[in-house]
């Protein structure tokens, strides 16, 4: 009797286990075969875009697919990293989630995602890889060869944004080299404004962009070589980069409050308040050239009833004086991955396809001026975009988009987090007035704390 009861209990337990396993979702292969659906509900989690931008994307998507409900949840960057893994592990993760190429994310979160190769092939045809810009496909492929995230768009960095109104008022020109930058700063500070705002405090890796830009004026190949272990951060070029940063601080280009906080909010707020003439930000800042988004970002920075100023991109000045143009660097900003255990894979496929490979979906991305659309040949529809000063800003933004599209150098994809952290610490030591270490010693420590990346080196 007891034995029969035990066997029955074991059978029930086994059946329950099988049922539970089955309920957690379809296997990766089965899920890949699911056809896109025209109805259902999709949850989408990401650290970007901001909720209002995502809501605009979803509203446009719903014009074509009214029976698919998309719910977007936005997280702060760190919160996203800490939330997404347990959510995916527990089987309660979103149907669609952001996945970027940075920090080995395709390997970290790729195992939870569907291989999207067949979806891309079915949508764009055999030559699908050629229709997606940059090296985005390569960057969003995990080391086991699975294409785990369809790029929504790319981004570029390595240039400045300036407030034209302040420079005009100060009678200053956009700097093109070190001396003209010093001259511009003297004129800007004379009218009571900060010349160049920068937030290098904290652990944020934004300061690495300045290092990268300066390195490109010293030796255009140095940064990626050092990041991938083919050069050392304490080589002559690396030391020269740090020396230039120190000189920029001593000559008043870098402000004394640079270590008071990170780029966001410190530098962003100073620039958006109209207190600073220049800031180093990437392509995503283009969105604030828009008449409406400019107001929203100024209000977010603490300005009440703001009047937008004209902001324009400018090439990073040739601070090394070697005659090298500081080339832009960039990569896929992020893509959309589909949770392989999602119960709404059909609807998720429709949404992700539309957002990343549909011309209307990508047109929305282009018009938001936040990302470089992933689908080649998509450019902003200027008839739907209102800029603060169209005559001045549009040509500058068009040039920026063209040059950004030609970028071949990666931003962070080929740099490990350890190396990025080491750059930040080195910059902080250079800018810290109480640190008495030599540049060589700082560069030596930087090299010791770094770790070469193997990404994209094969």
């Amino acid at each position: 009797m007891m034995r029969t009861r035990f066997i029955s209990a074991a059978a029930v337990a086994a059946a329950a286990a099988l049922a539970i396993t089955g309920c957690t979702g379809s296997s990766g292969d089965q899920a890949s075969d699911v056809k896109p659906a025209t109805s259902g509900s999709v949850t989408w989690w990401g650290w970007t875009p901001d909720t209002p931008v995502a809501e605009k994307y979803i509203a446009e998507f719903n014009k074509e697919y009214p029976d698919i409900t998309v719910t977007y949840k936005n997280f702060e960057n760190v919160d996203y990293r800490n939330t997404i893994t347990p959510a995916l592990d527990s089987g309660k993760g979103p149907d669609v989630f952001d996945l970027s190429p940075a920090g080995g994310s395709p390997d970290l979160w790729g195992p939870y995602a569907l291989d999207l190769t067949s979806l891309a092939k079915d949508t764009l045809g055999d030559g699908w890889k050629d229709q997606i810009g940059g090296s985005y496909v390569k960057q969003l492929t995990s080391s086991d060869g699975r294409f785990v995230s369809l790029p929504l768009g790319g981004m570029s960095a390595g240039f400045l944004w300036y407030n034209k109104d302040i420079l005009d008022k100060a009678g200053a020109k956009v700097p093109t080299d070190y001396n003209s930058w010093v001259d511009t700063c003297k004129k800007v500070t004379a009218i009571g404004k900060t010349c160049f705002t920068m937030g290098a405090g904290g652990t944020d890796t934004f300061p690495t962009e300045m290092y990268h830009s300066i390195a490109n004026t010293v030796d255009p190949d140095f940064f990626i070589k050092a990041a991938t272990g083919k050069a050392k951060w304490n080589d002559e070029q690396g030391q020269k980069v740090l020396e230039i940063i120190k000189k920029m601080k001593d000559d008043g280009i870098i402000p004394p409050n640079a270590l008071d906080g990170p780029q966001y909010p410190l530098a962003n707020n100073e620039f958006m308040k109209g207190d600073a003439a220049m800031v180093q930000m990437g392509f995503w800042y283009t969105q604030y050239a828009g008449a409406e988004s400019c107001k929203a970002s100024m209000e977010a920075a603490g300005v009440s009833n703001p009047t937008c100023f004209v902001q324009l991109p400018a090439q990073f000045p040739d601070v090394a004086g070697e005659g090298h143009k500081s080339t832009y660097f960039g990569e896929a900003d992020y893509g959309l991955a589909i949770n392989s255990e999602s119960k709404n894979i059909g609807a998720a496929k429709t949404f992700v396809s539309w957002m990343t490979m549909n011309k209307t979906g990508q047109q929305n991305v282009a018009n938001a001026l936040d990302l470089l659309p992933a689908l080649k040949g998509t450019t902003p529809d200027w008839s739907n975009i209102t800029l603060v000063d169209e005559a001045v800003q549009r040509p500058a933004i068009e040039t920026l988009i063209k040059e950004s599209g030609e970028t071949t150098e990666s931003r962070q994809w080929q740099t490990t987090q350890k190396s990025l952290d080491a750059i930040v610490v080195a910059i902080q030591q250079v800018l810290d007035p109480s640190v008495n270490k030599s540049i060589k010693s700082i560069a030596d420590d930087q090299q010791a704390s770094s770790e070469a990346s193997k990404v994209g080196t094969k």
Partner: protein, 326 residues
Amino acid sequence: MTVTDLEIGSDRQTPVVKGGGRPKRRARLLPGGLRWILPAFAISVGLIYYSIIYSGYLSFFSWPGGRALMTPVGFGNYISALADPVLWTSLRNTIIYFVVVFIVQVAGGTLFAAAMHSKIRFANLYKVLVVIPVVVAPATLAPAHVEVWQSDGTVNSILGFFGLSALQQPWIGQSTTSLLVVTLVGCWDAIGYGFILIYAGMAQIDPELIEAGRLDGAGNFRVLFSIVLPTLRPIIVSLAILNFITALKLFDSPWLITQGGPAHSSEFLGTMIYAETASSDRNLGYASALSILVLIIAIAVSVFMQLRGRERLTRTKPRRKEAADV
């Protein structure tokens, strides 16, 4: 401990059988008692101890989390941690923070408590003012602290106003002062907590004891150092232990004010562990190894402080007896 309490409680509830019959068996009552403590027991063992054991297990792997491969590294994470100069900076900062905050807490708490026990006007208002920093969340106050200490903040403005521009500093943005800012914020927060405990401790002191001291000619300082503080020793030992544990797991203030920077100068073990778990190349194994090191230090120091406290207590008891005999 818990079982003993339960048994006592169970006996009390046992009805006395009329006519001197045997009470109900205790064994039947135990499971009922267990039921009451089961939720708390499950939470403490299931969550806290499980997490500690799981952290210990993880500390022997290199693992970014999720479905990524867990690579066994033996004691590699511990060796890396001990060789990491940032760990030693964090430990140094922890000790500095503990010593400074503890001294200020006890001194400030005693001062305020003594003042409140004397008959001063608006005592209740002062009590509220002293205790407010304890009840307000650090995350709420951090932006205000940043405003106060940043380069164009309140402190530098005040210094400039009084013609002390030479003393103006980028307080948060330089290695020599960032830890000072975090520590001062800690002191500001800790005084209120110290005040609550010391104030309560002082209320327990027999007034006759102080009266006797005064009759023997003791002044205020003599009464404070010879009667009040020795009586408060158990509270002060408790404050020391609590402060050290707070310093060991300190995270919110340094993270929100300096993020451990610049260049790790205000790094603490808590911020170091968080940075490992929150970076894009998360290393949960290394973070777990750091957590286990924190746990070991916390247990070792707590045991040491408790033992020291007991030793002093046993040393002082005979003296008191002798004094009583006299």
